[in-house]
């Protein structure tokens, strides 16, 4: 559908929206919509025509029916911590803010599940589960901010991917509203359920392009008794990569396996002065959780493997507090890099685990050719990398050069058998590269699926399933 076909958000539409959710939950003022022109994606901005904050699935249904009839774009939004311009209203229209739907419906220790409304934050869900001795596994970096609905919509990842999987592995059921106004419930409180297509998984990671998620049923696991962390330095990422391969070949599937490249190590050291080895080519954090004796044994094995593979230094935390201190190096990566320049472009690609070192070498090469500054950290266990560029927007064409470099980074990841996004999503920012990753046939299928859910094409246009705007 071309831009010219969009319906106009006129006084009549605004009036109807006010009737549906109440006048205090509809905003059209210049200032009010300006605040929603951004999510967490740098270098992207677009202002909606109207901001609507519904309080229930029924209200969402009425809004979507109205939008489909009037052909007005609707962009669902949680806390707006998206990093791929996935909640940007590039075609204008309605930004549908779901943060008012923030009730924890149920935490059930007998069934090992929780039911929450879409606007509950990930950290709130985790805290509610922890109060009953249970763990909600997915822990994206933005968990204090991001909503569960947003996590499901992007299939958020986190630090525990290798051992525990990602958001999709913990979604049992959804309540969602179709663009045409029907409220559906997919899955449920069942671990086994093959009745029909797996719509729960289809909607998980669909980035608000197929339906609006209003309630989520998630699986919980018993809280691990303990966890411990160690840190190892290597002269290069390639050496670190060989150690990671050997750790896994030894039969250990660690809960934590994170790396920082040399540029990250130095940025963190400049910022926090933790006493890291600035000369190291890579810092590897390894850790496990579970029963104390198993954790102890796995930590010892991983430390020995790192040493055998040529680690220049290995430190193991004796207790939880020491683990926290070691993890500080990883936690400081973003703050350290963010302080280097006004704009921080936190990117997200994935490659098969054995190709991590190759990928980082390519990233460094691309950055150098474009004259930009990129440091890389990421999840060594699952091959998910976060090349992070920092730049000053007032520095001539730095933004353009960064975007060009990032495009090449995507192409390089695909070449190495990887993907353009591991956990942030496609959004508007990566749509131009989606076909490179999926091929024309899958792109066409995506488009047909999109039409089946959203015949008027109103839901989050310009993202997965539709054309660039």
């Amino acid at each position: 559908m071309s831009t010219a076909d969009w319906g106009v958000v006129d006084d009549e539409i605004v009036g109807r929206l006010r009737d549906i959710v109440g006048p205090e939950h509809v905003k059209v003022d210049d200032g009010a919509v300006a605040a929603f022109a951004r999510d967490a994606t740098p270098l992207y901005a677009a202002r909606p025509d109207v901001v609507v904050m519904p309080g229930s699935a029924a209200e969402v249904a009425e809004i979507l029916r109205l939008a489909t009839r009037a052909r007005v774009p609707v962009v669902p939004r949680g806390a707006g911590s998206n990093l791929a311009a996935g909640t940007l209203a590039e075609a204008g229209g309605i930004v549908l803010v779901l943060t008012r739907m923030d009730r924890i419906v149920e935490v059930n220790a007998d069934e090992l599940l929780a039911v929450v409304q879409t606007g509950v934050t990930t950290a709130e869900l985790a805290a509610a589960a922890a109060a009953d001795g249970l763990l909600y596994v997915p822990d994206p970096g933005s968990k204090t901010v991001s909503t569960v609905g947003g996590n499901v919509a992007t299939c958020a990842g986190g630090l525990r991917g290798l051992k525990y999987g990602v958001t999709r592995n913990y979604v049992l059921g959804l309540e969602a509203v179709l663009p045409t106004g029907e409220i559906i419930r997919t899955g449920g409180r069942l671990w086994k359920d093959v009745a029909g297509y797996d719509l729960t998984r289809l909607l998980t990671g669909s980035e608000g392009t197929l339906a609006v998620i209003t309630e989520v049923t998630v699986a919980l696991v018993p809280m691990p008794a303990t966890s411990r962390t160690g840190v190892a330095y290597f002269d290069s990422l390639a050496t670190a990569g060989r150690a990671v391969a050997q750790v896994i070949a030894d039969g250990v599937v660690p809960a934590t396996l994170e790396f920082l490249d040399n540029k990250c190590i130095n940025a963190v050291e400049d910022f926090a002065g933790l006493g890291l080895d600035r000369t190291a080519g890579a810092l590897l954090l390894f850790g496990d959780d579970g029963a104390p004796d198993v954790v102890e044994q796995n930590l010892e094995r991983m430390a020995r493997t790192c040493e055998k593979q040529g680690a220049s230094g290995v430190t193991m935390a004796r207790e939880v507090a020491e683990s926290e201190a070691l993890l500080a190096a990883r936690r400081c990566a973003l703050p350290a890099l963010a302080r280097l320049a006004p704009v921080t472009v936190l990117e997200d690609v994935g490659v098969p685990r054995p190709r991590i070192a190759d990928m980082v070498a390519r990233i460094d090469d691309i950055a150098e050719r474009h004259g930009i500054s990129v440091a890389t950290f990421g999840h060594a266990g699952d091959g998910n990398l976060h090349p992070t560029a920092v730049l000053d927007p007032s520095d001539g064409d730095a933004a353009e050069r960064t975007k060009a470099a990032i495009g090449e980074i995507f192409s390089a990841a695909i070449e190495l058998g990887g993907t353009i996004t591991g956990e942030h999503g496609v959004g508007a920012a990566k749509l131009p590269w989606l076909q490179d990753r999926l091929g024309a046939e899958q792109m066409a299928l995506l488009s047909r699926i999109k039409t089946a859910f959203d015949p008027a094409g109103i839901l989050n246009p310009g993202k997965t399933g539709s054309q660039e705007l």
Partner: protein, 386 residues
């Protein structure tokens, strides 16, 4: 490995959403550019917690500031007007910001512009005028004269800052502070510190008043007001201006004993207390361990889940926006009741007044919990002779 040709896609034109666009000169460009819009500040913002609305979050407000600076929004835009005053200015956002954004100074610059000549709340103008009048301060001091000391200002002792609100409302707090700081005086001829000006659209005036206070009280100034402490320390330095709990911990103050009361069973037990942090003391100066350390020596200490989050007093906020101020306070009062404490302890006169007023209806219904200033309890516990 065979190198496949890399075909760069054509990136679309960049729209950074006013990031890095400086036209009106309202904000320090370096401060305004620093926000990376990650949104980590949302969950700690009291007004975002109330409304779950981006525009009432620190990130949303910075987006608005950028739109004002770039000229995208006019200064009289109603959302700008609303948010400039709806923000409590508690600076909790700064403590979780990965990019090190200094929100406090930006809010001052915003209000300097937003509330420039005749555009701000009339009540804020009146407050600024009133506290800048020394005679009025001294007048209120006359009524409650026992707080201050007489005679010339000495430069070899610590001075207790009387503050503008405290000398009128809580002279016993200044008096208790004097008792705790050996040899301290409390000269009557000292003005307001200017924090109220700085936070209400007149940061130049606020700075001037802080510097003048520094001239009036040479040497170390000890204050019982967390809100004033951050402002004055910003202009005089942290070696000149010391908040009382910080001062007492640094000088190794020890109580004579614990404060006891009788439990429901008639047996003596230590009093049970909780602390309400002062936002600017905690978020601006990083002082939060010290008052807890002192309280643990004299009482059974209980931490409230929301201890670090604003009580809604927020300087003049409770006067300028009484309804929102009460909305911010309400969940905290429930926490205080649930904690079953004897005292809720404040380290700032504004918070003290806010908690006292908030607890009134509950006390009328039979609740026993009282709001007190830290020094009032410490002085009752007595200082141990070294």
């Amino acid at each position: 490995m065979s190198e496949l040709p890399i075909v760069p896609q054509v990136p679309r034109p960049v729209d950074a959403g006013d990031h890095g666009v400086h036209r009106r000169g309202i904000f320090d460009p370096e401060l305004l550019d620093r926000c990376i819009s990650c949104g980590f500040c949302l969950p700690v913002c009291p007004t975002y917690a109330l409304d779950k609305d981006e525009q009432s979050s620190p990130r949303g407000r910075i987006t608005l500031m950028r739109a004002l600076e770039s000229g995208r929004l006019e200064p009289d835009d109603p959302t700008l007007q609303h948010e400039a005053s709806y923000c409590l200015g508690c600076r909790a956002c700064e403590t979780v910001c990965p990019a090190g954004v200094e929100y406090g100074p930006m809010l001052e610059q915003w209000r300097d512009h937003q509330w420039r000549a005749g555009h701000g709340p009339a009540l804020a103008r009146w407050l600024r005028w009133a506290v800048a009048r020394r005679r009025m301060l001294q007048l209120s001091g006359l009524v409650r004269r026992f707080a201050r000391t007489r005679g010339p200002v000495r430069d070899d002792v610590a001075h207790v800052m009387l503050g503008c609100a405290e000398r009128a409302l809580f002279p016993a707090v200044s008096q208790a502070a004097r008792a705790l700081v050996p040899g301290a005086d409390a000269p009557a001829d000292q003005g307001c510190c200017g924090a109220l000006h700085a936070h209400n659209g007149d940061s130049a005036g606020g700075r001037e008043m802080a510097l003048r206070l520094g001239r009036d009280l040479p040497g170390t100034i000890v204050t019982t007001s967390g809100g004033c402490a951050a402002h004055v320390a910003e202009h005089l330095g942290r070696d000149r201006l010391v908040e009382i709990s910080d001062y007492l911990v640094r000088t190794g103050w020890k109580p004579a004993g614990r404060l006891m009361t009788r439990g429901a069973d008639g047996r003596p037990r230590p009093i049970r207390v909780t602390l309400q942090d002062s936002c600017h003391l905690r978020n601006g100066l990083g002082v939060h361990r010290q008052p807890r350390e002192l309280l643990e020596q004299i009482a059974e200490y209980v931490e409230l889940p929301s201890a670090a989050s604003c009580c809604g007093a927020a300087g003049s906020y409770s006067i300028l926006r009484p309804r929102d101020s009460k909305r911010v306070l309400a969940p905290k009062l429930d926490e205080i009741m649930a904690a079953e404490v004897d005292y809720v302890v404040a380290v700032n006169p504004g918070c003290l007044l806010q908690l006292k007023q908030g607890l009134l209806p509950r006390r009328a219904r039979g609740a026993k919990v009282k709001a007190v200033h830290l020094v009032e309890l410490l002085v009752r516990a007595g200082s141990r002779a070294e």
